[in-house]
Amino acid sequence: MAECALKIRDISKSFFGIQALREVNLDVREGQTLGLIGENGAGKSTLMNILGGVIALDGGAIRLFGDKYYPACPADATRAGIAFIHQELNLFGNLSIADNLFIDRFPQFRRSPLIDKRSTYNQADVLLSSVDLRLPPQTPVELLTPGEKQLVEIAKAMRRESRIIIFDEPTTSLTAAERSRLFAIIKKLQDQGQTIIYISHTLEDVLRVSDTIAVLRDGCLVSAGPRDEYSVNKMISDMVGRKIEQMYPTRDTCLEAKPLLEVQSLTQPGIVRDITFQLHKKEVLGIFGLMGSGRSELVRIIFGLDPFSAGKIRLNTVNIPKPSPALNIRHALAFVTENRREEGLLMEASVMENLNLLTLGKCSKLGPMGLIDRMKTTKCTQQMSKQLNIKSGPIQKHQAKNLSGGNQQKVVLGKWLLTDPVVLILDEPTRGIDVGAKVEIYRIINQLAEKGTGILYISSELDELMGMCDRILVMSNGRLKAEFQRDDYDQEAILQAAFSASN
């Protein structure tokens, strides 16, 4: 009986009242490959962050090859023999491949601090050939493609003789050829008896490489077992099988034909290709897709944060050749980004300051040089705060960083709502928020649509989209793959479209 490489017992973790992991129990046998799947927000990244020493667990314990494992920082995890192949690669672009492989300890001449270059390059060659990367070790890493960089990371993990290698969404930036190469290397590692955890949205891939599969949902482990017990359909239904309670308001779909936002053949090489759709008045249009499918990138292009090389964007039948945030805001387009902390809020500022950030100009004559009408802004922001039920101290003083995730998101939403938008783009609006706040936000969005706003709703939670939207567009690999009308909603069909690896 192979030894248990990793014993995860009753791991719990909550963030500000939201339970991210609920007493998860998981075993990984030595020499086996565990495929870990689940929707976004199911708890996979939280679990991996705990393993990797990035965050601390609240409850439970981990045993690594029998020993207690309590990493306090990422370096601890590396020292304990756990290697991560992340999407955000931790390579030093200014150094060569060989430098990156040996950066913590180079092969040195005996009893001297001098690096033995020949030995370094020889060892690097060996490592590189074992991952089938045919490049000279002197190559600067910044010149490599994401696929090649990933191979260097794997080589690094092998050099460190890592006991467990964790692959976190490894194929999102790879070409088809690079994917095949990756699987060949994983096969080699498996033959060598390497313990692997493989996390991916591409379910066929997970089936291909794993010996056992575990499914997380809403922070709980809902099923686990040998690969043979699983099929793509079972994986999907395990991931998603949730009772759709009356979380979503009843949708009276009476959308009007007038297109508020039209996108035609929008293309940006490497990001999105040939996107065409229309958003109508009073419509809630959802966009579904996996991480890396291009949905967030698409709306960022529409809002003017990123460039595009071909295609047209029309707002209210006005053609917008060069969108920019300021221009779009003038045309009453609003955009709630997916990362409220980095791009949605001023964390040090007060709730009121965050709420009125976009409407300062409206409350004053003379535009930016004008004085802020304090009474008016106070009134507007207080009204909005009440309307959205933002739970905080006095809004002039309470800093945004001291709010819960749900309230923070409401602040971002409120900020945009104060501009009276005609089109509202929401990117993952309920990510990291407790259920109560979610229901409130759904209600608000529904009301907005009924009043005439067109809403573009991006989310990774399929039942949220199915509950809220009149139509769902499915994106995959930068293209629009399918469109579903409300009457035709079918969870498995939508997921099939999104998970389809090619064509």
């Binding site: 020292r79 030093f92 040996f102 950066i103 910044e142 490497g270 690999n477 090619s502």
Partner: protein, 329 residues
């Protein structure tokens, strides 16, 4: 082919010093061929050596993504202490040099501590140390000039084996040691890593404090060494000694391809060429009899150009590392 164009742009942006220098060489070849005589070249290197040594020290700090504005004051204090020790306790020139380097190291250690452990921004730390250090130096010298005996000044004008001037020898040795440290030791490579991304370096298990502390102490040592060489050529140290040299050192480094953003740059040939370039420009301005008051303006112009290229390279690299999704073409 996108890959080829990428490589070409990289080559251009990463080798600016060599290209600049080649350009200068060609220009001088046409305009003033006599400046390419050996004696003249030797003079330029000799004059450039003290700034060059300081620039090498500055490179360590720049590679970690920091800056050291206090090198001028460091030079002053170290030289004053060494000179006074020679005057009062009659120590020989080599012990005096050792003492000078010790003071330089201590000065650098204070910077190192404040940056690595107290986590204060390098520019503020070294700005404050620039002023404080000058004050301490003046305290020791009581604002008088400190003169050095012939045993030291002899070094400034003498030649090793009658062939190569001592300043150049020391400069070469410093460059060699720095090169060995940066290219051929683990610590050196780790300095590059820390400068590129301190967080990633920490995650990779690198002792980032050790890298930072080493960089600032070395900068201090090389600053005092450069000061000593300058004193050997001048004969005495007055109250304004070293003032403004931090600027020249930064200029030499940045012109030599060292990035202000950290993680990029080589001491050889980069910084050497940078120091020589600055000295050459300075000499040419003098021999072209350009108004003395215009020199600092022209120097500032060159530095601006060098920093501009550095910023271009940095923005270009940032754009490239933005994540791409593979779209089915």
């Amino acid at each position: 082919m996108d890959g080829k164009r990428k490589k070409l742009t990289f080559a251009l942006l990463n080798n600016t010093p060599v290209l600049l220098f080649a350009f200068l060489f060609i220009v001088f070849g046409f305009v003033a061929p006599q400046s390419l005589r050996y004696q003249n070249i030797e003079n330029v290197f000799k004059q450039a050596s003290y700034v060059g040594i300081i620039a090498v020290g500055m490179t360590f700090v720049l590679l970690t993504g920091g800056i050291d504005l206090s090198v001028g004051s460091n030079m002053y204090v170290s030289a004053v202490v060494a000179g006074l020790a020679m005057q009062r306790y009659s120590i020989g020139p080599w012990p005096a040099l050792f003492l000078c380097l010790m003071v330089g190291a201590m000065f650098g250690a204070v910077n190192a501590f404040a940056v690595a452990k107290l986590k204060i921004i390098p520019f503020v730390v070294t700005l404050a140390m620039m002023v404080t250090g000058r004050g301490i130096g003046l305290m020791f010298s009581k604002s008088h000039a400190v003169s050095f005996p012939d045993s030291v000044t002899g070094l400034g004008s003498a030649d090793l084996f009658g062939l190569i001037p001592y300043p150049i020898v020391l400069f070469a040795m410093v460059v060699f040691c720095a090169w060995i440290l940066l290219e051929r030791t683990t610590l050196g490579r780790q300095i590059y890593a820390v400068g590129f991304n301190k967080e990633a370096a920490r995650k990779a298990g690198i002792n980032t404090d050790r890298a930072l502390i080493t960089a600032y102490i070395l900068c201090g040592v090389f600053a005092s060494l450069g000061g000593f060489i300058s004193v050997a050529q001048l004969g005495n140290v007055n109250a304004g000694f070293g003032k403004g040299d931090e600027f020249d050192a930064i200029a030499a480094a940045v012109l030599g391809g060292v990035s202000l953003f950290g993680g990029v740059g080589k001491v050889f040939p980069g910084v050497v060429l940078g120091a020589v370039f600055i000295q050459t420009v300075s000499n040419s301005l003098v021999s072209a009899r350009v108004d003395l008051y215009l020199h600092p303006l022209i120097a500032a112009g060159f530095i601006f150009f060098a920093v501009f290229i550095d910023s271009l390279r940095s923005t270009y690299l940032a754009k490239l590392s933005r994540r791409n999704i593979r779209v089915e073409e």
